[in-house]
């Protein structure tokens, strides 16, 4: 909270440091009091369970009724739990897929949401604009299971709409019909489309709000100077949106080692044949460990992902700060 305040206020930064934390606490005690419940939730929900990462270094077994008892009696095994990760010849494939998909989602997500946010802002009719926005938002509320059945209804080789109605109508012969769930090459495109379709509306909202917050006087002045609509977007809207884009992208970068389990598991129906292009870290961990119920190895996978994410956020923030210190997250 403090950091967002300082970035907004920019120059107020120095005065904060002069007076120190206690002065701030006294001055804004009501604000800090209001922050307490949220802090408590974060502490209990996000920080206390962190001790659990130690399970990744244990051979977790059951000794009694109590989780803590099990935890403390289990033996330390060092890095052994991480081995299933390195033992597989697929380590490269799943890491590559996870990274590439997430990078694609970040870039495409950013471009498309900003694009739609600007377009929505340009629509003059208030109700039409709201209607478009709401209909774009709708897919976000569908669970991945529902989405997976929508995709299956389209692409199923037995009853799918595309193979049974659409393509035959276009004159594709029965032998040339694609086997959607059998061809790994098609899935990077399908998954990117599905993901974009689902999240564009949601990501848009933030940018629409940010655009609405831009001072209208800039635009008025530009209009007086004879700048075209397109020119105004390029020189006013986009530059003013950049800090927000940077923050949202940095936050997304922190999660590039995680993949949306629902997307990669449900939408693809976890079909083994597609593994080359749909296998990501999360689904690999699920497939490898589901039958084993090995808590230690599952924690090891989780720890590996968060560690990589942590390093990535730090380094990308560092890069942003090198380029433009004002726009860095911290």
């Amino acid at each position: 909270m403090e950091s967002s305040l300082t970035t907004k206020r920019g120059k107020a930064l120095k005065s904060v440091h002069k007076h120190g934390f206690l002065y701030e606490l006294k001055k804004n005690k009501v604000l800090f009091l209001m922050m307490l419940p949220a802090l408590a939730v974060i502490l209990v929900n996000n920080y206390l369970p962190m001790a659990g990462v130690l399970i990744a270094f244990k051979n977790f077994k059951y000794f009694g009724r109590n989780f803590f008892e099990n935890f403390f009696k289990s033996k330390w095994v060092g890095l052994e739990n991480f081995e299933f990760f390195t033992a597989t010849p697929d380590a490269f494939t799943i890491t590559r897929n996870t990274l590439l998909y997430n990078l694609a989602f970040i870039v495409i997500g950013l471009v498309i949401s900003v694009f739609f946010a600007i377009i929505l802002n340009e629509i003059k009719g208030k109700y039409t604009s709201k209607f478009y926005q709401a209909s774009m938002f709708l897919p976000y509320f569908m669970s991945w299971i529902v989405v997976s059945y929508l995709v299956f209804a389209l692409l199923s080789e037995e009853q799918g709409f595309v193979n049974k109605s659409l393509l035959p109508m276009l004159g594709v012969s029965a032998d040339a019909l694609p086997t959607w769930y059998g061809d790994p090459g098609k899935w990077p495109i399908i998954l990117t489309l599905v993901n974009t379709w689902k999240f564009t509306g949601y990501n848009c909202v933030v940018y629409v709000a940010a655009i609405a917050g831009i001072d209208q006087e800039y635009y008025e002045a530009a209009t007086v100077d004879g700048a075209s609509r397109f020119y105004q977007i390029r020189k006013i809207t986009i530059p003013l949106l950049t800090p927000l884009m940077v923050i949202l992208t940095l936050l997304a970068v922190g999660r590039v080692f995680y993949s949306d389990f629902g997307l990669f598991f449900s939408v693809t129906r976890n079909v083994g044949t597609l593994f080359e292009t749909i296998g990501v870290i999360d689904t690999y961990v699920y497939n490898a460990l589901r039958n084993l119920n090995d808590v230690g190895m599952a924690s090891a996978a989780g720890l590996y992902q968060s560690l990589c994410g942590f390093i990535l956020v730090l380094s990308s923030n560092l890069i942003v700060r090198k380029i433009d210190p004002d726009k860095a997250l911290f």
Binding site: R65, N70, E83, A87, L292
Partner: protein
Amino acid sequence: MQKAKRLIGLILVLCLAVTFVVGCGNDDGASNSTSPSTSTASGSSVAADSSVVLDPVELKWYVIGNGQPKDMDAVLAKVNDYLKPKINATLKLSIFTWGDDFEQKMGAKVASGEEFDITFTSNWALNYLQNAPKGAFVDLTPMLDQYAPQTKALLGDKVIKGASIDGKLFAIPTNKEMAHNWGFLINKDLADKNGIDISTIKKFEDIEPALKIIKEKEPGVEPFQTVVGESAYRILDFEKMVDDNVPGAIYGDGRDTKVINDFDSPEAKTLFTTLHNWFKAGYIRKDADTITDWQANRKAGKVFSAVASLKPGKDGEESVSSGINWVQVDITKPMATTREMTGAMQAISKSSKNPERSLMFLELFNTDPELCNLINYGIEGTHYTKVADTKIEVTQAGKDGYNPGTPWMFGNQFNTYIYDSEKFDSATAKWDQFKAYNESATASPILGFTFNSEPVKTKVAALTGIKKQFMPGLETGKSDPATVLPKFIDKLKAAGLDDVLAEMQKQVDTFSANK
């Protein structure tokens, strides 16, 4: 600020709680063995002296099946009326659905240490062979004589030995057929309608002409169903070391004890090729590897044949539970393996507060026909009516409200009634045939062996991941084995297959030497 103080207080209390547990945790080996033994001691006086009043307890029991039936509460009320005076316990039975539902829920419950008493476990769901050595279940060996002597006698030494891990029994096997064979379940109505003579089918490939007829004459029917989890691969009857997901097995006919990679055997290759040809001919549905709900089509009468685990009267049981007229064709010979001994069991959770009472309940469940039939078939007069002494007919209310259809899971199958539609004259006739089947079975050369995957568990996890990439395509005929099988085998080898096979062989040899 008040809140901050409270928060700090809360943290301090938590820290205290943690250190307290650490303190308790120090006497390592001792407490591991004390908890069951102390409870046995306190429980023994209770059991021995019936005048001592047992505290009322509720036993939470989780099993696999077709989901929670509508009338469960009514049946449980009856069960509790019955249990209360006997062991002063009430039962809370939850039935989860097949596959992931049960597996995930129980996996999470076990891992988090959630308190419950009894769970279904087996070599194919909530894996007994992996969870028991990890300490998920209570070791019942020292408690058997005291709380379940009749069950012990009923099961006999062979079964108890077969179900034990390193001489310790962690779950009570259902008393049922203790052998298995594989074959086909065939939709009898479709066969009769199209003039298919089932008696000509003697081996796996013999069914092909029938599939051709069905494909031509019955559009919309799956001639042959093979899906992930209900796979045709099982017809090869390998005796797997871990489970269907992990390569490594000995030949199921007991010819030797050499551990091989079963996916790489000549038999597997032939089968995959046959399946691929059938897939191309349209005998197997195109999206077989994406299907999760395979039962819907079976119940709708849209499946002609499938590979199934068989036993005497399997077709009759299946007909009642699915409402379709099935007939079974035996292909492989009956074998008695660890797989049957651990095929359906009830384990008592380490998290249970009442392990003795749970075992007392299981003892009652195994020895008392009334209780066993109540849980299997519901309330007499409501869910079923008796047509003969031991034969019943399921009423409509039974079909809608209470029809678990899993007598092989619940207690002592030899105590249960049979359905009117089954071809046996009485339950006794059926169970006699079961006993004969058990006796006719050849015992596996490694009966009672269980593989301890602990030394190679990371590799087992990696192999499991690879199996799930390739097997769904191969076992549904979608992948061409000529190109896919070599890739599959290479990848398994790269993931450490040879080390795992060597470890398996080592353990099998040790077991054989000590027998």
